[in-house]
């Protein structure tokens, strides 16, 4: 990988999410009125319009809802990373996010595959959530 990386610029709204990542914790907004989780961050709950929420810890587990294997880089930073896997991960709490799977063999990716979060520290101020195959599938599976 080479050249300057695109990095998130936290906003006042999203800062707690990135602060939690620095602690190697995954969190998301949970509505204080209707208790629904939401992500990516919004000032109000789209279900009940409440502006009250807390940042609740997530289990950090989910499964692949969909995915792509990127064979062409569209930013120089990823030029040496291709082919790499991106998934849409559906978390146990019912929210979704983009999941970068840096260590997964692109041939192995499947919809429904269990994933767990891991973290990549970029520098002292920024840690990114990444994803990997779940070590221990849920009991009763397979």
């Amino acid at each position: 990988m080479s050249e300057e990386r695109l990095l998130p610029v936290p906003t006042q709204l999203s800062q707690p999410f990135w602060d939690a990542c620095r602690r190697r914790e995954l969190v998301a907004q949970r509505c204080a009125e209707c208790a629904r989780f939401r992500h990516y961050p919004t000032p109000r709950c789209p279900s009940c319009q409440s502006d009250r929420y807390d940042w609740a810890p997530l289990a950090g587990r989910g499964e692949v809802y969909s995915y792509t294997v990127c064979h062409q880089a569209f930013h120089p930073y990823f030029a040496d990373a291709v082919p790499y896997v991106l998934a849409t991960v559906e978390l146990e709490e019912g929210i979704r996010m983009l999941a970068f799977l840096p260590d997964l063999d692109p041939a192995a990716i499947r919809i429904g595959m269990p994933l767990e979060v891991c973290f990549e520290q970029v520098d002292e101020s920024l840690t990114l959530p990444c994803w990997q195959l779940c070590d221990e599938p849920e009991a009763g599976e397979g």
Binding site: P10, Y67, Y84, L86
Partner: protein, 394 residues
């Protein structure tokens, strides 16, 4: 079935375009001016007749640029829609409303950009790209992980469709091949001279699995424009008016990323818009003679066929088998070659093609026989959409 709302009240009376090229000396503004003047000429109107303009978000051109260069003394309505690729057909709805309300009489809509020479998506620097506010979520939560551009975003949707419905890569290939056959008959198409077989498609470079190079729309330098007026005024102008029988916009929820779509397999904006457009027009999908479906990628063509009800959810793959969407087939689609084989002029070229089909002005090998109705879509951002149903005035 009866019609409702503004059905039939407005008509497209002028179309114009620049050559579609890979490489140009012209600025984006110059492309807009050339296309606009061509559309005015086609409509039999002068610049002083234009009292409404709707510049296109993706171009960065603003109304003031058009006032400065065309001398639009009479201008009293301008607006720019901000749904990315969905903007062009969505803007037509606003133009119709302005005309129907008496705010404007002749509205000019123009789009296009230096999509090859400057705003080139496949080049990682993306110099010159117009900033779209909706992208701020993707900027923070997805681009840092290499989910940078549209081909990557929509590949998640295409993959999920394959998973749920058994759609095969060959189905996307059949769409690409149909479009290429149409482009081979269209001298203005960028891919006019290049044939494509299904095997060629399947051998083309994988970009973002399952989307291959030949599933992608073409980075294009070019502009296209249309002029809209009232159906009553249209009767005095040179060409057979093409009336807007039904039109609607639809918005996905949430609108900020494909990853967030509850049902990624539906182009939700089009699913929401289509019933309103068909209801306004008093038409059903079976009444439509041809379709110009916004095809940023062949995925969009397949998903749009389902959204408009030409087939059921999940049936888009089998629907495109057997040449059904080719000229001569049951529902010719993207008859100029589409954004994947003619050119990508922010989808405006689909509207130009629809008008040509409905004027019966194309050579026999390009013309849909007895074409009376045409469906046109735009898709943009993350499955936002607009649906327009056009009809030939009798």
């Amino acid at each position: 079935m009866g019609t409702t709302g503004i059905s039939g009240h407005c008509a497209i009376v002028g179309i114009g375009q620049t050559p579609y090229t890979r490489g140009t000396e012209a600025s984006t503004l110059e492309l807009h001016l050339q296309a606009s003047l061509a559309a005015l000429d086609d409509a039999g109107l002068a610049a002083r007749d234009i009292d409404g303009v709707m510049p296109n978000e993706l171009s960065g051109v603003i109304a003031e640029d058009l006032i400065l260069n065309l001398g639009l003394d009479a201008l009293r309505f301008t607006s720019t829609i901000r749904t990315g690729g969905a903007s062009f057909v969505t803007a037509i709805q606003s133009a119709c409303l302005a005309i129907h309300a008496g705010v404007a009489r002749h509205v000019l809509l123009v789009a296009g950009r230096r999509g090859y020479s400057e705003q080139r998506i496949s080049r990682s620097s993306q110099g010159g790209m117009v900033r779209m506010p909706i992208m701020r979520t993707v900027d923070e939560f997805e681009r840092p992980f290499g989910n940078n551009v549209a081909v990557q975003w929509f590949s998640h949707a295409a993959r999920r469709h394959m998973h749920e419905f058994g759609t095969r890569p060959e189905h996307f290939g059949m769409i690409a091949v149909a479009c290429r056959k149409h482009a081979n008959r269209n001298p203005q198409a960028l891919m006019h001279a290049k044939t494509m077989s299904l095997e060629d498609h399947q051998n083309s470079r994988m970009i973002s699995d399952p989307i291959r190079l030949f599933d992608c729309s073409l980075e294009t330098d070019g502009g296209a424009a249309i002029v809209i007026t009232s159906a009553e005024r249209a009767r005095d102008l040179p060409h057979t008016p093409v009336r807007v029988l039904g039109i609607a916009e639809g918005h996905g929820e949430p609108p900020n990323s494909i990853t967030q779509k509850r049902d990624m397999t539906r182009i939700e904006g089009l699913w929401k818009a289509a019933p309103h457009a068909f209801g306004m027009a008093g038409l059903t999908p079976a009444d439509i003679d041809c379709a110009q479906l916004y095809d940023g990628f062949t995925w969009h063509t397949l998903g749009s066929l389902e959204a408009l009800g030409f087939c059921g959810i999940g049936e888009g793959g089998p629907f495109v088998e057997g040449g059904r969407i080719e000229l001569g087939g049951e529902l010719p689609v993207n008859t100029a070659g589409g954004l994947v084989s003619e050119a990508h002029v922010s989808g405006a070229n689909h509207v130009v093609e629809a008008v040509r089909q409905l004027r019966h002005s194309l050579p026999p090998d390009r013309q849909v026989p007895d074409c009376e109705t045409c469906a046109v879509t735009s898709e943009g951002d993350f499955h936002e959409g607009a649906v327009m149903l056009l009809g030939r005035s009798r």
